[in-house]
Amino acid sequence: MSLLPYTDTKPKGAADFYFGINATFRFMLRQFGEAGFIRWLTEMGHGYFEPVNRIWREGGLPSVAQYWREFFAAEPGAEVEVHEEERQVVIDVKRCPAIAHLKAHQRDIVPEYCRHCLILGQTRAEAAGLSMQLEGGNGSCIHRYGDAGVLTQDADAVREVS
């Protein structure tokens, strides 16, 4: 059974939608500033993603691992390994599909692009009784999910896109 709350008839999404996501980040930052950008993503983490948060709350770390495997399998161009370690899930994003597609099309990527993964990841992890940490960015990164309060975030660990 799929852990993705919403499924499509085609196996992978259309990569040009990354253009829309990048443009939306730019619009939100310009319209609402950094604080508004964080508020928007936090509300999305609690709102749009609540079906995923519920799955994670009920299924714990194994469901987090399965969710991300299925998620990245549906993202075109993703090269990702998901490891289940002792009380921790490590998502090793070797090739971020969004950054790769945007760079391949010479798009002006918002420098804060990778921050959305941290804001959404931490919001959703907390809603599920877990913690989340992100390191890297600009095309490759490592996400970690663990029990509540275990993972802490280094403020400088998320790179800007350049």
Binding site: L4, P5, Y6, T7, D8, T9, K10, K12, G13, A14, A15, D16, F17, Y18, F19, G20, I21, N22, A23, T24, R26, F27, Q31, F32, W40, E43, M44, G47, Y48, F71, A74, E75, P76, P97, A98, H105, H116, C117, L120, G121
Partner: protein, 188 residues
């Protein structure tokens, strides 16, 4: 991470969020600035420089990527480009998954396509029935107003079908602005 697989889901959620923050005015600003002016700059460049053949090229690529199983038809007749969508991959995704965060999801297309076409020198005839079906006709801004028979026939057939099924339809006639919508509940 925000993914492209369920893009239409979070896109629809964003529409509702923006309406809550600043009403439809802010939502329309988002479609104009972020989608037409930024995300879809490749479409604007293609259609702005190549006109009808650019439309064919843009939607050829986009629909192949978003709707590989088909469910649409498109073509050029004279000085016009037309499309008929029978199974919209975007609205269809929402319907199959029971997603309805915003009331008028389908308006987003006119919201960015309208201003893009105006810049390229075209105006738009369009209608949708909120159930994954719509038609489009792009014609020069300076047009005679005379209907093109084969496209007119397509439009009338679809409108008759939708009215017959008592569907609420949103219609745009020679429009480039999403505010120009006329809601038709005649079929209900």
């Amino acid at each position: 991470m925000l993914g492209c697989y369920d893009f239409c889901g979070h896109y629809d959620w964003i529409f509702n969020w923006l309406k809550e923050q600043g009403g439809t005015e802010l939502l329309y600003q988002y479609w104009d600035e972020a989608i037409y002016g930024d995300s879809q700059q490749h479409a604007a460049e293609l259609i702005g420089s190549k006109g009808l053949s650019g439309m064919k090229e843009y939607w050829g690529h986009t629909l192949e990527e978003e709707a590989p199983a088909g469910g649409y038809a498109a073509g050029i007749v004279g000085d016009r480009f037309w499309m008929e969508m029978n199974d919209c991959p975007s609205r269809g995704f929402l319907m199959r998954n029971g997603i309805e965060f915003s009331r008028d999801y389908c308006d987003h297309c006119l919201g960015w396509i309208g201003p893009m076409m105006k810049k390229a020198g075209f105006t738009v005839n369009h209608a949708h029935n909120h159930c994954g079906q719509c038609y489009w006709e792009f014609m020069p801004l300076q047009n005679s107003g005379e209907p093109e028979p084969s496209i007119e026939s397509l439009k009338q057939r679809l409108l008759r079908e939708w009215d017959g099924e008592k569907m609420e339809t949103d219609r745009f006639e020679q429009a480039n602005d999403v505010c120009k919508k006329r809601v038709n509940t005649q079929g209900q």
